[in-house]
Symmetry: C2
Subunit: 252 residues, 2 copies
């Protein structure tokens, strides 16, 4: 039984689960033009993605609303939004918990994400501007720099940016949005996987091929590469066994 709380500085699980270092949380401000529900959804999304709210953890409406200084109404709307996004699971008349995907779920998600990236890569080969490709190349070399320094965090973030840039270059808003959402759902898992990954050189060589493919605008090749690129993530994840934080019937 773990005891992860909403507050930073909680006690257990920290030896096995390093906190995810990331951008600061989105914050809720009075003078934003966005409705509170939307702002709350953004904050909550960050909290779940960054493992501040770990998988399976019940989300109590009153307490969380109080912490965010909003009422339950916009918070509930935010929860509905995140449920459609797959980051929150709504249990009928039993409230919400942070999504807790099974290993099988993760396998499906990675397969799906690979497919999306493959499609996007194929389209990107046809539609990317030369400037977009230049930027991808630049990111690639930045990533190599992070690799050389063995800076796993920097590597991870650059890796994400490259994939994102490739998908953006597809020019299809639905691919972009779908990619972003699925990425959020997998972020936690891939982050952990990245920090432990022993097959780093393999990933690097795959990326070399990806860069070559987009540079030569080889659509079929890039599709295939990106389709299977995430496979290594799955191997890592499955080797590590643990995917989520399992049951969270305890807390606070």
């Amino acid at each position: 039984m773990s005891n992860i709380t909403l507050n930073a500085g909680s006690e257990s699980d920290l030896d096995t689960y390093e906190p995810i270092v990331d951008a600061p949380l989105a914050n809720i401000s009075e003078n934003s033009d966005l409705p509170l529900a939307q702002q709350a959804a953004n904050v909550l999304r960050d909290m779940i993605v960054q493992d501040i709210i770990p998988p399976g953890k019940p989300i109590r409406e009153r307490t969380l609303a109080q912490q965010l200084n909003i009422s339950r109404t916009p918070l509930r709307e935010a929860l509905r939004i995140l449920a459609v996004d797959g980051l929150v699971e709504l249990l009928p008349s039993r409230g919400a918990i942070a999504a807790n995907p099974s290993p099988e779920d993760v396998k499906h998600m990675l397969e799906f994400l690979g497919g999306i990236e493959g499609l996007a890569g194929e389209l990107a080969c046809k539609r990317a501007t030369d400037e977009e490709i230049d930027e991808i190349r630049a990111l690639h070399y930045e990533m190599l720099a992070a690799f050389a320094r063995k800076d796993r965090l920097a590597y991870f973030k650059l890796n994400q940016r490259i994939h994102r840039a490739l998908v953006m270059a597809s020019g299809n808003p639905l691919l972009i949005e779908t990619h972003e959402r699925m990425n959020a759902r997998l972020y936690r898992i891939r982050y952990r996987s990245n920090m432990r990954n022993t097959k780093w050189p393999t990933a690097i060589s795959e990326h070399e091929e990806i860069l070559k493919a987009i540079e030569s605008r080889d659509a079929v090749k890039l599709n295939d590469l990106m389709r299977n690129h995430l496979g290594s993530t799955w191997i890592k994840v499955s080797e590590d066994g643990q995917v989520g934080t399992a049951d969270h019937h305890d807390n606070d």
Copy 2:
């Protein structure tokens, strides 16, 4: 300026826009175990998909809540859900309107849906059970029957069922869900397109090929077929010009 109202029996636009005949609307019942927000989302989804609420039409919370015999709270939650689904557009502090995709949007959606179906088809070739393929074959022949009778409505529904069955056979829940959602967003448009389609025989021959591919479990072939199968829809849509019901600054 059109005058389509929520109530049946409205006046104009009916000569150019036949109502979409479909299954009865989901209904809101007291004794359902689903929360009202979820039920309302289902009803609203049907109303939008079936063009009872036409694209661009403002959705007034109080009036609609009254019509559905619920309060604004669950209705608003439903609107948030549908917004994530892309069926509703939320204008900040100006409420919600039924989604009104531009021709460009539709083009992207069809491209995306084709990609999803291609991926699903490829996986289906590898994973479909023989029984699933049998069922697809059966649906195919039912569809041919509808074609022989020139029963466009029956044809359309069977066509949808075939595509759905193929995607289901992929065994990937995310592909299935994504397909279903995108299908909902395109339903209205494809329905209209189907009712006017002049290249019916072409579609039929494509379906013959699709059936052959899944029967022989030719993954690459089926991917390609399904990927480009929807292209004809776009040609039709773009030829017809009008995609949505344009502006709806008037109403009620």
